[in-house]
């Protein structure tokens, strides 16, 4: 392990003083891991958290109390933006039941990019609802999948029930430039909101 970690680029430059984070969220298989991997300067890392859920009926041979555990994974990547600032991107599942994980993730986050898939737009509602509950501003990026239906922006806005100010962009999570552009739209929105709230 030591040799891997000693390789270039694992550690942050000594001058970095500030770390900020943005979330990349969305339903299962919407492209979160791909998006984070496309933009990250390090090989994306994964953390796993074991969540215990009480009450489920299980038929455990050992007769252990009726608890089930789920493993929830979070993929994240890193972008060093200048000599003192680093941005972390956390890709996480949109399930409501992972309350603690959501609290940890949203704490101190600047905002979130919601990835959506035009083949199952309704699957994005849960995660948008969660972000609203946590008071985290977001932009929506429709991830392009080959063969997925293409809709006009107005149709998408209506289907996703977006506020007029919520940015809606399309992106290809496999493409660095396109994914960077989607993040820029999000941060531009965060910046203008921030100015308004301070005014």
């Amino acid at each position: 392990m030591g040799s891997v970690l000693a390789s270039d680029g694992v550690y942050l430059p000594d001058t970095v003083q500030t770390a900020v984070k943005l979330l990349v969220v969305g339903h299962f298989a919407v492209g979160k891991t791909t998006f984070v991997g496309t933009l990250s300067e390090i090989r994306p890392l994964r953390t796993e958290e074991t969540m215990t859920q009480a009450g489920a009926l299980t038929d455990d041979l050992a007769g252990v109390p009726d608890k089930t555990t789920t493993t929830v994974a979070m993929d994240f990547g890193r972008l060093t933006l200048n000599d003192h600032l680093v941005l972390y991107l956390f890709g996480a599942p949109g399930q409501r039941r992972f309350t603690q994980l959501w609290r940890d993730m949203t704490y101190g986050a600047l905002g979130a990019l919601v990835l959506a898939d035009t083949r199952r737009l309704e699957h994005s509602f849960d995660v948008m609802g969660l972000l609203e509950e946590h008071g985290l501003p977001y932009a929506v990026a429709v991830n392009h999948f080959d063969g997925a239906p293409v809709f006009a922006e107005e149709e998408l806005r209506e289907a996703l029930d977006l506020l007029p100010e919520t940015p809606l962009v399309t992106c290809d999570a496999r493409d660095r430039r396109s994914s960077t552009q989607a993040l820029i739209s999000l941060v531009q929105y965060l910046y203008s909101r921030n100015r308004q709230e301070r005014a």
């Binding site: 694992v10 550690y11 994964r46 979070m74 600032l85 430039r177 820029i184 921030n194 301070r198």
Partner: protein
Amino acid sequence: MTPPGKKRGLVRPYVITDGRAHPTRNTLDLVTLVIAAGGETGGLSPEKRRVMELCRGGSLSVAEVAGHLRIPVSVTKVLLSDLVDSGHIVTRSPIPSAELPEPQILQEVLDGLRARL
């Protein structure tokens, strides 16, 4: 039972943390940056020594420490906050959540992203 082929630690997480589920301090966030401050590591548990070995190389976020060592974030926070208490690790604080981020930070994020296009 651990399924064969799955590379997991030999002990369950609460053993690593002496049975504690919560860190001694709540100031550690996923993106809090940590670095080794030095100090004698001989008396530390094997897991804490692994943390120290990793953190000796330079700054990393709490999430990266968890990811590299394949330890859950909750356990990593317990280990790191112990190591902060004992003077082995120093932290750099992240931006607090209650306050709006400084516009200057957002501007820098924007500039940094644009420079990548």
